[in-house]
């Protein structure tokens, strides 16, 4: 290779007589588009393998042997290539292909949902012949057939581009649809008795270039030209970029937007179709309070706010700031989170604040660990360590991206999980770690364990995993594998890894909305906005806020325990439903019963909000504006598409009004102004402007310009920090000089090694999650609600014999703190001596077995059939 090769080599070619340049290996179709010439296409999709099927992108290419028609989607640009995209042979070929495609395509555009945004329609207008010479009878198939609960297929409209079938096979890994028959009888269809039940089926509807695939929630709802569209962010942990389509103040559909850094245009069906909940008739629209007989009755907003303020005032006066606690906020925008952090910590001066429901990880750990991006996890040559549940169930688009990277052989996956996951078959090494053993197994990976087995894993498997770890750049996907074990094991494992591999990066997989963003905005005990602590930044924030908590507060479990002890008088629930979500049901029930006043801000009636003393209806997704921060720490725009119902407030407004009633001015007037204040005060957000976040589809990765060690390391490696906001970095650096420091790895203490569990019972419980559960949003989306199925207890097939129970038998499961009866199902993905039960599915509740005091949940299983 030449030494003076330019940093960004380009391949020069001739496009329609003018000079053009492409990246090496770039496909001609992309290179032409980049150079300003759009080549028509149907089958080509930039996120999938090219197949060259539709023949629409034929162009004349001359590589020295004379011009020949070539599909631009299958050809990489080579130097000196001469490309004609509009010569007479090209025009003739494209006309011909369009005429062929239209031969059997029903011209039912007036009743077709795709009409108005149909690539076939558009390209026929732009490139096609004016009329058809086809006088024979068109091909007929039964009109739309449902191929799943959500998707309809109209085979007459299908132009056989292979996009949906390729997506199902190649991207989602669920080849439930495919081609059948051949020639002009070729059709896409499902296999007999096997519906297109995929978590990702909605993507096929979005990428269908005609109206062959339609989704139930949008069918016949609108014409595309009547829709208003804004780019926003779906409030899930990955922060999928979406476009929201609405008409007449109703959201009618959501589509994925191709953000290179985030979701590549994909969405899981749950997120795609959950907009239905926004318009659910069960939405809370009136503020409520308790009447004298204890019933929830409607109040005016001012009366409700007044009641809330009075309760807060009374608790503060009588019992001090520690008697007030706040749970939730993970589902909100960063601005709402900041406003509530400021109210709780700067006005009420309580540190009893937690956005997580006992299902996350300690805020300090997450803030201090070097943060990875999704791209880091998928990068070629890297190793991904999975210390989390099944990504497919909880982080759909991250699953798709990581799966693609594994399929392409780019990244290598090492799994340390209690159950097999959907990626296990692609993993380089997949180890079954018993609940509670994560830290011990990581210790074993870092040392060289002796003997045959360690923690139930063969030593040679550990050695193989260990070799994998030391080879390549490491990204740890760090979450909770199960709600039936305490977070300490995972936290200890992560800190051990971070200390052993200084270059390792961590992606904290907290599944609940913007939970990571909430921690970074201070909605966690001992934290203040900007990945900083009360100890380090208390004085800094006191300067601006007027107050800050005097002493460190409690996390969710601590708050609930304190409530049971009578120490918490007022509990504020920010869109939180601890009665459903907190893993220890007995504790949360007792706590909610003990609190004198529950102030709930929620959009829906939930098990918790129904028990509130003051209920304030709040805006949901689509109704509020702000900024979403995902697990990477990436800030992206959330836009408002519809007006919330009368009487519904946005969460930050409630915070401001409550402060006002308590006699304080939060000084917050709009999401933009809130963001700007946070940017001014927080070491993490410094330099990330409101407009900067909105200027890029990928948003801004934080910290953007913080001169911390990580950024300097990046710079030293010759890589500019990934994204810089528009602000001059010098200002940011100057401002940063006086900012409090963000948490660093060195600030973390290694949690105690959890006591080796004593196997009192024969099984360890794994409480995991499924995509479709009885969660609030799914339950209120009619198209999704039926998909939650009561869970069964999953056991390894070999354990059925050991227990002497039959398949599908009812078993009774007993732990030290409770008992349930549930039917048992064999599942190869569960290892022997483990029992898995999904949370919140409307069936038997694993939370009845879990105690937040115990590091793991051991259970005894006996047949309950006589």
């Amino acid at each position: 290779m030449a030494l003076d090769a330019p940093a960004n080599p380009v391949v020069e070619f001739t496009l329609d007589g003018r000079a053009a340049a492409a990246a090496p290996g770039q496909l001609l179709i992309d290179a032409c588009e980049q150079a300003g010439t759009y080549i028509p296409r149907f089958c080509y999709h930039p996120r999938m393998r090219s197949v060259g099927m539709c023949r629409m992108c034929l162009v004349e290419v001359d590589t020295g042997r004379g011009p020949a028609l070539q599909p631009a989607c299958m050809l990489s640009v080579s130097a000196g290539m001469i490309v004609e995209t509009a010569s007479p042979p090209v025009v003739k070929a494209q006309d011909g292909v369009l005429e062929f495609l239209l031969l059997n395509h029903p011209l039912d555009c007036p009743v077709c949902d795709k009409g108005g945004e149909c690539p076939l329609q558009d390209q026929t207008m732009a490139f096609g012949p004016g009329e058809s010479r086809f006088v024979e009878e068109k091909r007929h198939f039964a009109k739309p057939i449902p191929i799943s609960d959500l998707v309809f297929l109209d085979r007459e409209r299908c132009i056989l581009c292979d996009r949906c079938t390729r997506f199902a096979d190649e991207v989602a890994g669920e080849a439930l649809i495919g081609f059948q028959n051949r020639g002009s009888h070729t059709q896409v269809n499902t296999f007999p008795d096997q519906p297109f039940d995929s978590y990702f089926s909605g993507n096929t509807v979005q990428i269908c270039p005609v109206g062959a695939l339609t989704a139930r929630p949008y069918r016949f709802k609108a014409r595309p030209w009547d829709l208003s569209e804004t780019i926003s962010t779906y409030p899930n942990a990955v922060g999928d970029r979406i476009s929201v389509h609405a008409s007449r103040n109703r959201i009618l559909r959501i589509q994925g937007v191709d953000s290179d850094a985030v979701n590549w245009g994909w969405l899981s069906d749950r997120d795609r179709f959950s907009f239905e909940a926004v318009h659910s008739p069960e939405r809370l629209t009136e503020p409520m309070g308790r009447s004298e007989d204890g019933e929830l009755t409607p109040l005016s907003t001012s009366a409700a706010l007044g009641a809330a303020a009075a309760a807060l005032r009374a608790a503060l006066d009588a019992h001090g700031p520690q008697s007030v606690a706040l749970l939730g906020g993970a589902g909100l925008c960063a601005e709402d989170q900041y406003a509530w952090a400021k109210l709780a910590k700067g006005v009420l001066a309580t540190d009893n604040v937690d956005a997580c429901m006992g299902d996350g990880l300690a805020g300090e750990t997450i803030c201090a660990l070097p943060r990875a991006t999704i791209a880091d996890a998928c990068r070629p040559g890297g190793v991904v360590l999975l210390l989390s549940g099944d990504l497919r169930e909880e982080f759909g688009t991250l699953y798709l991206r990581l799966r693609r990277s594994l399929m392409d052989g780019d990244a290598a996956l090492l799994e340390l999980t209690p159950l097999e996951t959907s990626l296990s078959s692609l993993a380089a090494c997949s180890l079954r770690v018993r609940p509670g053993d994560a830290a011990r197994v990581v210790e074993a990976l870092l040392e060289t364990p002796r003997g045959e087995r360690f923690a139930g894993i063969e030593t040679k498997e550990l050695a193989a995993a260990s070799a994998l770890l030391s080879e390549r750049p490491l990204t740890v996907l760090l979450g909770r594998t199960s709600q039936a074990e305490s977070a300490e094991a995972a936290e200890r494992a992560a800190i051990l890894l971070a200390r052993a591999f200084p270059q390792a990066k961590f992606l904290p997989l907290l599944r609940r909305g913007a939970a990571v963003g909430a921690l970074e905005m201070g909605l966690a005990p001992r934290l203040l906005p900007g990945r900083t602590t009360l100890a380090a930044a208390g004085d800094w924030y006191r300067r601006f806020w007027g107050a800050a908590p005097a002493e460190p507060g409690l996390d969710a479990a601590g708050i609930l325990r304190a409530a049971v002890e009578g120490k918490i008088k007022v509990l504020i629930l920010l869109g939180a439903d601890p009665a459903t979500d907190f893993p220890d049901r007995r504790l949360v029930e007792a706590a909610l019963a003990s609190v004198s006043t529950i102030i709930a801000l929620d959009a829906f009636p939930t098990a918790s909000s129904r028990r509130a003393h003051v209920l304030l209806p709040t805006a949901t997704f689509g109704e509020r504006e702000g900024t979403h921060v995902n697990v990477e720490g990436r800030a992206t725009a959330v836009t408002r598409q519809v007006t919330p119902p009368a009487g519904v407030r946005v969460d930050w407004q409630v915070a401001a009004e409550l402060a006002d009633l308590l006699g304080f001015d939060l000084g917050l007037s709009s999401p933009r102004q809130i963001w700007e204040e946070a940017v001014r005060l927080s070491p993490l957000h410094a330099g990330v402007t409101w407009d900067g976040v909105r200027a890029d589809l990928d948003g801004v990765l934080m910290p953007a310009a913080a001169p911390d060690a990580a950024a300097q390391d990046e710079a030293a490696k010759g890589e500019a920090p990934a994204e810089l906001a528009g602000e001059a970095p010098a200002d940011a650096v100057a401002a940063a000089a006086s900012l409090p420091p963000s948490l660093r790895l060195a600030d973390l203490e290694l949690p105690e090694a959890p006591a080796t569990p004593f196997d009192g019972y024969s099984f360890r419980l794994v409480a995991d999650r499924t995509l479709y559960d009885k969660g609030t949003i799914v339950s209120h989306s009619p198209s999704l609600a039926g998909k939650a199925v009561p869970a069964r207890l999953r056991l390894n097939p070999s354990d059925f014999e050991r227990l002497a129970v039959g398949k599908d038998a009812l078993v009774s499961v007993t732990s030290s703190s409770g008992a349930i009866t549930v039917s048992a199902a064999p599942d190869e993905r569960v290892p022997p001596a483990a029992a898995a039960l999904a949370l919140n599915t409307g069936g038997a509740d694993p939370r009845d077995l879990i105690s937040s005091e115990e590091p793991i949940c051991e259970v005894r299983i006996v047949s309950s059939e006589l």
Partner: protein
Amino acid sequence: MSELESRSPAAASSVVEPSDLIVTRRRHQSGGHTLEGYLASGGYEGLRLALERPPAAVQEEIKAASLLGRGGAGFPAGVKWGFCPPNVWPRYLVVNGDESEPGTYKDRLLMETDPHQLIEGCLIAAYAVGAAQCFLYVRGEMALAQERLAAALNESYEAGFLGRDICGSDFCLDIVLQPGAGAYIVGEETALIESLEGRRGMPRLKPPYFPAAVGLYGQPTIVNNVETLSNLPWIVCRGAEAFAAKGAPPSSGTRVFTVSGHVRTPGVFEVPFGVTTFREIIFDDHYAGGMRADYPLKAFIPGGASAPWFFEEHLDLPLDKAKVDDAGSMLGSGAIVVMDETTDVPRACHNLVRFFARESCGKCTPCREGTTWLEQVLERLLAGRGRPTDLDLLTDICDNISPGLSWPPKMTTICPLGPSAVSPIASALDRFRHEFEAYLPERSRRPSSLTAVAG
């Protein structure tokens, strides 16, 4: 006895000496398909000789013999072998036994009557290119061929000609017999590879999927036709020069042709390549024996249903690849289909087009939609519901599948199946346009000047 043998002309072998033959010389030998019969007539001698030489020398020998591929494209086998990128392992050898071109049944005969010759050919080819695994893909409908090949493979394994350490050398080869599922398109090498991998038989685009570079399971793969490989034992035994002497180099050796249609004795004939003329193979008594009932010849297809048609004036062309190519058609799979004066050309076209429409895999739009459209227009024409514009329409549909209607065809498709359907229509419309016009209803045949008066 196979149906074929009983059908083959008694006269065919009477004049042609067995010593003139290469691949069909055991055709009439009783028990020639068994290992015993094969060994008795010099079988596996080529393998022994090949194993005594380095693989590169064997490859050179084949290259020198100018063994043109007998599947259709006629590309020199030795050159093809050389396209494997060096030092990329493993490599695979795939035998294309999915003979489905209408009018072609020579490979079936070779597999049925001389399976060991094919196996020996596979062994020699695999040894020369360095393949340790060979896949024998045989068309699904050829039950007897599959049966005989399976029996022969079992015999060869038992006798130590297949498996590990063959004939005491360190050369190892396994051959897997894979029956097809009845798709014409799988005769196309990349579609065959897709099918072998367990997917729908649909062609891959070349580039990047040139099998020699990126073939079966993404590895370098040599795909050879049954007849091509069956020539190898003879070439290794007798040498490249003797092979070349049989024909008219570069059309070296012999070639097996199948003659069908309106002739007295249709059948399979092995003739010196590049020497015998069409007139001889159609009219000579020891070949096809002339036209049925002495009707005059109307047209003939020289190389399978995909090839443009030839006529009276082409009869004296030798069966030589280059000369036939220059004349605007191809020898293709060696299927000569003869049509006499009684042939209704539009119906013959319809018959051929219908075949291609049904066999289109459905991948490329122009082939999937275009061939069916051609069939529909012809069907309407034959039913007496044609329009004067239909003839130009047929030509233009053809042009949209195969731009310019030139030969060799340009394609808007991945593989040549679509353009194959174009060949008969282009040939027939060019020569017999009046026959198509005769199918137009009376009313529409009026001069256009008169129709303008109406209304």
